[in-house]
């Protein structure tokens, strides 16, 4: 049954307008009322996005829930939104994570509560906007506008070096984005339209495609982040408040991967094929080298940040292997598994990294330290917490029956079709990931109680249990039965591969 409501628009504008309302009306009421309002808004948005899932037709690769209104008449820019099977899981991830973040900030944030809650709600709306925009300029507006609340979240509620971290975060991302804007404007000059569909259809020569691909790469590689433009991420994560880290890791990083899927691959397929060696190389460096870097971290948040970069390497690997698989098997459909693995990895990483940051947040709220050495023997005083963290650490290491396993497994299996050495190097992450995650877990949680501060720790409260338990359910559900997720995206991924298989230069030569 389809409802007549503009569901997707509601998912974007309810949190944005609600967030503004929370900010401006919230300064006069009690913090508790502000939090309740924010939670109601976040839950309402989650409910709306679940309606999207219910009404979504997984058998179709077309853009669903589409809405299209003229925005800027003179340049044929439209407020055009819609989602397919690639965007829907990410929208759901966004609305789910925001609820988690609102609950996680319940007792922790004491300063300017209304602004904190409002910023996250606005951020939510903008992120949903990024995943559903079908007009490139609309996409760009959401993409950039998103930086403003995040900039403020890190800068206002962050740690001691927050100013450095947040300005670095903003400038890095802005650097990539402005070149994307130039590329989009160039594409407009060629295609005569800002619609994503027209940009995907326009014929481009190989050298044009290469330039555009590089411009897109700057924007998306910074967001993913890929080695060597990843250095903003550890800083931003370490300094951000827990909620900010969760949103950064769980959703913002996914925008890079989404950008590759929505822009780079369909708009510049030939350039993507020409540069696939570079992308695979960078991905493998991220997986292996950053894995080693994670191993030596003393700061828990930094360790998880590096682990995120390493895991996102899987995503880009899964996406850009398709050309090698095609060369080996002659069939793009074989590459579908790699792309789907990358998608699952994105969603799963959203849950796991979010959960890991929340676990560190739980400890940090009590001890005000993120250093591994300050902990030890936490299990003796926080048994319930230790159990949850165990699950997430295992998931981060890619243990079967957790969501972390599904994505990594799909990518590694399909990488065998591309090249044995890709598979070999990618598989080292199973060892490295287990090493750095479990070693950290062991040092923090197991052993004798290390000092008096640890001895005074109290186990997680009901609120924290609720947050961690809901994430645990998500991680396990996706790990044991990923079929609903795969079914939703399958047709859209196949459609994408058909687009990529269609060389644009050959049409140019033909015409």
């Amino acid at each position: 049954m389809h409802s007549d409501l503009p569901l997707l628009s509601l998912c974007i504008w309810l949190p944005i307008l609600g967030g503004l309302w929370v900010i401006f009306a919230g300064s006069r009421v009690l913090d508790r009322a502000v939090k309740q309002d924010a939670l109601i808004l976040a839950l309402a948005t989650l409910a709306l996005s679940l309606l999207l899932y219910r009404d979504f037709n997984a058998a179709s690769a077309t853009m669903q829930f589409a809405e299209r209104y003229t925005w800027i008449d003179a340049f044929k820019i439209y407020y055009h939104i819609g989602i397919d099977g690639i965007a829907l899981p990410l929208v759901l991830l966004t609305t789910f994570t925001t609820v988690i973040v609102v609950i996680a900030g319940w007792e922790v944030i004491e300063d300017r509560v209304n602004q904190y809650m409002g910023a996250f709600l606005i951020l939510e709306g903008l992120m949903v906007g990024v995943f559903s925009a079908l007009d490139s300029i609309l996409f760009y507006v959401f993409w950039e506008a998103m930086l403003i609340p995040m900039f403020l979240i890190i800068g206002i509620w962050g740690g001691p070096r927050r100013v450095y971290a947040t300005i670095k975060f903003f400038l890095y991302t802005f650097l990539g984005s402005v070149f994307m804007l130039v590329a989009l404007l160039y594409l407009h000059a060629q295609a005569g339209s800002f619609a994503l569909q027209d940009m995907q259809d326009v014929v481009l020569t190989l050298s044009e495609q290469k330039w555009i691909f590089i411009a897109f790469l700057l924007a998306f590689a910074v967001k993913v982040p890929m080695w060597p433009v990843h250095t903003w991420l550890p800083d931003a994560h370490v300094e951000a408040p827990t909620g900010g880290s969760v949103v950064l890791a769980a959703i913002m990083l996914k925008m890079g991967g989404y950008g590759f899927l929505r822009f780079s691959l369909p708009i510049t397929p030939d350039a993507a094929a020409a540069f696939d060696w570079l992308m695979i190389l960078l991905s493998l460096i991220a997986v292996v080298y950053i894995g080693f870097v994670a191993l030596v971290q003393q700061d828990m948040k930094k360790l998880i940040a590096y682990s995120s970069i390493s895991h996102m390497g899987f995503v880009t690997l899964g996406l850009f292997m398709m050309f090698d698989i095609h060369a080996n098997t002659g069939n793009f459909q074989d590459a579908a598994m790699g792309v789907e693995g990358a998608m699952v990895q994105m969603i799963s990483h959203g849950f796991i990294s979010g959960a890991m940051f929340l676990c560190v947040g739980v400890l940090y709220d009590r001890m005000h330290s993120r250093m591994i050495n300050d902990y030890g023997g936490v299990v003796n005083v926080m048994p319930r917490f230790a159990a949850f963290m165990m699950l997430f650490a295992m998931a981060n290491a890619g243990l079967p029956a957790t969501s972390g396993f599904v994505g990594e497994f799909l990518v590694i299996v399909s990488s065998f079709k591309a090249n044995f050495w890709y598979a070999f190097l990618a598989a080292t992450t199973l060892i490295l990931g287990a090493a750095y995650t479990l070693w950290m877990y062991k040092r923090v949680v197991f052993g004798e109680i290390r000092n008096s501060h640890v001895a005074e720790l109290t186990d997680i409260t009901g609120r924290e249990t609720l947050v961690l338990a809901s994430l645990a359910v998500a991680v396990l559900a996706l790990g044991i039965w990923p079929a609903p997720l795969l079914d939703v995206m399958h047709v859209s991924v196949e459609h994408l591969l058909e687009q990529v298989a269609q060389s644009k230069t050959s049409i140019a030569a033909y015409e």
């Binding site: 003179a74 340049f75 950039e144 300005i167 402005v178 404007l185």
Partner: protein, 482 residues
């Protein structure tokens, strides 16, 4: 329309400005608000005349033996700049009543004469009319800067402005004499035709063009003719800086259009190259030097230099939509600049100008709403959506790319990245730093209202830029290729 109907708004403004001068001399000392309201009403009367339907001709109309032209672009620019002048009067009134200064009365008539100069400038169709308008504008501005005669910095700024301004006027005149020598006419419409036919005199014409471009560059304040700008911005009283930084930029854009496009279109390939160099230098020097500033007004001065470089990008594409982009840019820039200086006026107290960057520290805790307004303005200047400044940059970049200067667009976005840093620093000061005093900013309701509306207009233009874009595009329709 007869000649006098064409010049009616300018003539009215002249009479009213003289009236305001008398008003100030006889009543102003007893009732300071009288001069202010007189000036506001004068501008609104003239605005009503300019914006009346009869004054918006389909095609350009010429008067006074071809020395004056009334066309859509001129009319639109005049309306915009009158609105900006009225808004800056409101800010100035608040500033002067806060500072309790005695010189306030002279501000309004001088500003009105400057406005008259701007209006003459944008409706000029002869090299002499241009010069007339420019000098009327400039002389009024010099005296406005010197208005605070007790202030050393203001006097220094006025002196510097005057000397360099005189030099620039000389350059402009020299270039004009060169053009007259070759083409034998002062009329821009005739010049347009003659330049196309004077193939063998190209070198001399180009030589004259260089001096014209210098004059324009000085008025806009682009590198390397920007030296006056930081000192004048810092030295002058804040409302004077605000006045100089807003409406005259529109007039300077109008002057550039009249000279380069209406008159010397035939030399476009030459001035395009000159503008490329000027704009790259401006964006580079402006953005880099702005980082090093500690004074907010001086930082905004360098940011102006960078913005004017961006403005030239639209013009140098030499297409109708490129001019529309520049016009949109300069309008948006004036609005943002108005609000930024307005924030300084808001913070100023009887004791302090509050123009140091450190005065902004912790503003979000003192007055969250005005910190938010300044946040809008700063992100808008940095070109971050969803604020008006983004569309200004977007429009210009789009035209640069359509004109096949993709590399130039690349340079421009690199420099806006540099620019983002110092705008972010303002936000950092307001939101991340602790205030020195916990007290909210005190200001009158009028000032709060004007500043809030100003900031929200920039936000609204970011969400629905369509109307203003269409106005700018329709103003440049006559420049579409036939």
């Amino acid at each position: 329309m007869n000649d006098f109907a064409l010049i009616l708004p300018e003539a009215t403004l002249l009479v009213l400005a003289c009236g305001v001068l008398l008003l100030d001399a006889f009543i102003g000392k007893r009732v300071p608000a009288a001069t202010f309201w007189g000036a506001v009403v004068s501008c609104l009367v003239v605005l009503a005349q300019v914006a009346s339907p009869g004054y918006m001709p389909e095609a350009a109309v010429f008067g006074f033996a071809g020395t004056l032209r009334v066309d859509v672009m001129g009319t639109v620019l005049k309306s915009f700049l009158l609105v900006l002048v009225v808004v800056s009067f409101f800010y100035a009134h608040e500033y002067f009543s806060k500072q309790r200064q005695e010189v306030q009365g002279e501000y309004y008539p001088l500003a009105l004469f400057a406005t008259l100069g701007m209006m003459v400038l944008v409706s000029a169709n002869s090299l002499l009319t241009i010069y007339l308008g420019l000098e009327l504008l400039s002389l009024s501005l010099y005296s406005l800067v010197a208005l605070q005669r007790d202030s050393v910095t203001a006097s220094e700024a006025a002196m510097k402005y005057f000397v360099l301004g005189a030099l620039a006027s000389g350059m402009l005149l020299y270039g004009m004499s060169m053009l007259y020598g070759v083409a034998g006419t002062l009329d821009l419409s005739e010049l347009l035709i003659k330049v196309g036919n004077l193939e063998e005199q190209r070198l001399l014409l180009t030589f004259g063009l260089v001096f014209l471009v210098v004059g324009i560059a000085f008025k806009l304040g682009v590198v390397p003719f920007h030296m006056w700008l930081p000192d004048v911005y810092q030295g002058a009283a804040t409302p004077v800086t605000q006045f100089i930084g807003t409406a005259p930029k529109l007039a300077a854009f109008g002057m550039a259009m009249r000279l380069l496009v209406d008159g010397l279109w035939g030399l476009s390939e030459h001035w395009q190259q000159m503008l490329i160099i000027l704009s790259i230098l401006s964006m580079g020097v402006g953005n880099l030097l702005a980082i090093a500033q500690r004074n907010f007004k001086r930082m905004l001065a360098y940011s102006t230099i960078a913005h004017m470089g961006f403005l030239l990008l639209g013009m140098l594409s030499a297409t109708a939509s490129g001019y529309a982009a520049s016009m949109f840019y300069v309008t948006l820039y004036a609005l943002m600049s108005m609000g930024a200086f307005g924030s300084i006026i808001l913070l100023a107290s009887a004791r302090s100008e509050a123009d140091e960057l450190s005065d902004l520290a912790g503003l979000a805790k003192r007055s969250p709403w005005f910190a938010f307004i300044l946040l809008i303005l700063m992100f808008s200047m940095a070109g971050v959506p969803p604020f008006g400044g983004f569309w200004a940059k977007w429009f210009v970049l789009k035209e640069v790319i359509v004109a096949d200067y993709v590399w130039l667009a690349g340079i421009a976005v690199m420099f806006s990245l540099v620019g983002a840093y110092y705008y972010l620093r303002i936000v950092k000061l307001m939101y991340f730093d602790e205030p020195e005093t916990p007290y909210p900013v005190s200001a009158t309701t009028d000032l709060k209202l004007v500043l809030s509306v100003n900031g929200l207009v920039v936000l609204v233009l970011g969400i629905v830029p369509s109307t203003l874009m269409s106005v700018c595009i329709s103003a440049t329709i006559p420049y579409l290729p036939w």
